[in-house]
Subunit: 312 residues, 2 copies
Amino acid sequence: MISRVDVAAAAARLAGVANRTPIFRSRTLDERVGADVFLKAESLQRTGSFKFRGAFNAVSQTDAGGVTAFSSGNHAQAVALAARLTGKEAVILMPLDAPAAKVEATRGYGAEIVVYDRYREDREALGHALAEERGLVLVPPYDDPLVMAGQGTVALELLEEAGSLDAVVVPVGGGGLIAGTATAVDGAARVFGVEPAAGDDTRRSLEAGERVAIDVPRTIADGLQVTAPGRLTFEVNRERVDGVVTVGDDEIVDAMAFLFNRMKLVTEPSGAVGVAALLAGRLDVSGRIGVIVSGGNVGLARFAELVGSAAD
Amino acid sequence: MISRVDVAAAAARLAGVANRTPIFRSRTLDERVGADVFLKAESLQRTGSFKFRGAFNAVSQTDAGGVTAFSSGNHAQAVALAARLTGKEAVILMPLDAPAAKVEATRGYGAEIVVYDRYREDREALGHALAEERGLVLVPPYDDPLVMAGQGTVALELLEEAGSLDAVVVPVGGGGLIAGTATAVDGAARVFGVEPAAGDDTRRSLEAGERVAIDVPRTIADGLQVTAPGRLTFEVNRERVDGVVTVGDDEIVDAMAFLFNRMKLVTEPSGAVGVAALLAGRLDVSGRIGVIVSGGNVGLARFAELVGSAAD
């Protein structure tokens, strides 16, 4: 089980490497929510999401000359940049049908891309064979103590700058960000997770008291399309998280539009679920509320397609 | 002629009132420009643009119980919020056909809106009559020493955080932001303005050595649709600005798309002209370059309409 000391150690490693992302406020948001809301914009983190923190914390601690990861999303770019900054090789396994923009971004950080056919090949077997053959260390997207501790640094910064908070609201996919957050917060505030309604595996698991698997959820929040909580993340979250609520895709879109129009921030669907939960009244909170806006990696065409109808 | 002392005084008044907006960097931008670029994101300023700084500096220094302004744009919201924060009344004259979102935003800051028919009524005469009748002080959008000095605080913060710079690149409409910038920079860096190609009144005026008026320019950069430099701003800019370059509307759109995709920032056309000039190679600069991204007030529908075809 990770501790606050692990998060502090991660913060020391990330100092001067990760962006200390800004915190934004909005009078309109405060009025609509009935609380003082502090948005921590990890969309403005290097590689466009909080994933860089955990990836760098893990990659910088391995002695191996190279790392590998399976990801078509934010974790791929995070591992690629972390490897580049630490002088290591990065080999990222991506499905053949991954968006060209994400492949290009990952390659742009200096990673070698190995593509596989997601309908015919087993990426885990491929990845392990590759790691063995080339002496690479696999960096998991969330189920890893160093990754969780790295993600917890978001909350450390939030508490340092916003001062004491009554609650912190966090997007939940595999559970790494909220595990790090709850560890960093260490009881000083309540910690609530937000999942897409279709992908509430962590909510169900907490209710059941054990890890529950669901089908691949249909949701626009592609970063949160996880079928079961991680083993290590669930151990942490079961003890330290105060609750998980869910939001519908339409509520996510409304939050993305709000963040664009009122706060001038580009947010991907997964990044907007915390704001969505507050705007939709899913959380019974008051006082001072921190919200992690976890990422901004969404192409313009996709953004316009999703949010166009919510334009004001 | 305003001095660096006036800018410092404005900074003292704005401390704790204006956002100290973040500065962003992008490796991709640096590579494309061939320089170290520091973007000062005034799109994240209160009311969504730098205009709040000048407006607050002016409004806070008047003894009158109320203020007025003519504007359908960023200045309207800036004056409205400045008045609210200083406990003054604000009456904003807006054309009947102003975008509903802008009218609502201005009213949302507590201002009274007086509409006029821009085809049949003279807003200046209306404004002066209103000011006289109700004892209001008119806050000009740029041609005012306190307004110019307030805008200069953007550059003060930029220099404080980025360290020494070789050049600062600034959007030019009426010339208030660049006049404040050049005054704040005070010879420590070269200062370049950027205008839309169709609206190059300041470029022409600097070339001619006197204020030149042009027809109302057709450009997507609605915040820079000015027909002649201000009298006071031109006096400052003639002495202190190193040059003005222009960008086409297509180049502005490319910059908006870049800022969205790569930097997760929502920028209005006028706010993106500095980045547009750098990406289009209009400025022969190297070393350390500061760029003021001046505003982000653009509706989602309009943004998608403008930038949709540039999506990557």
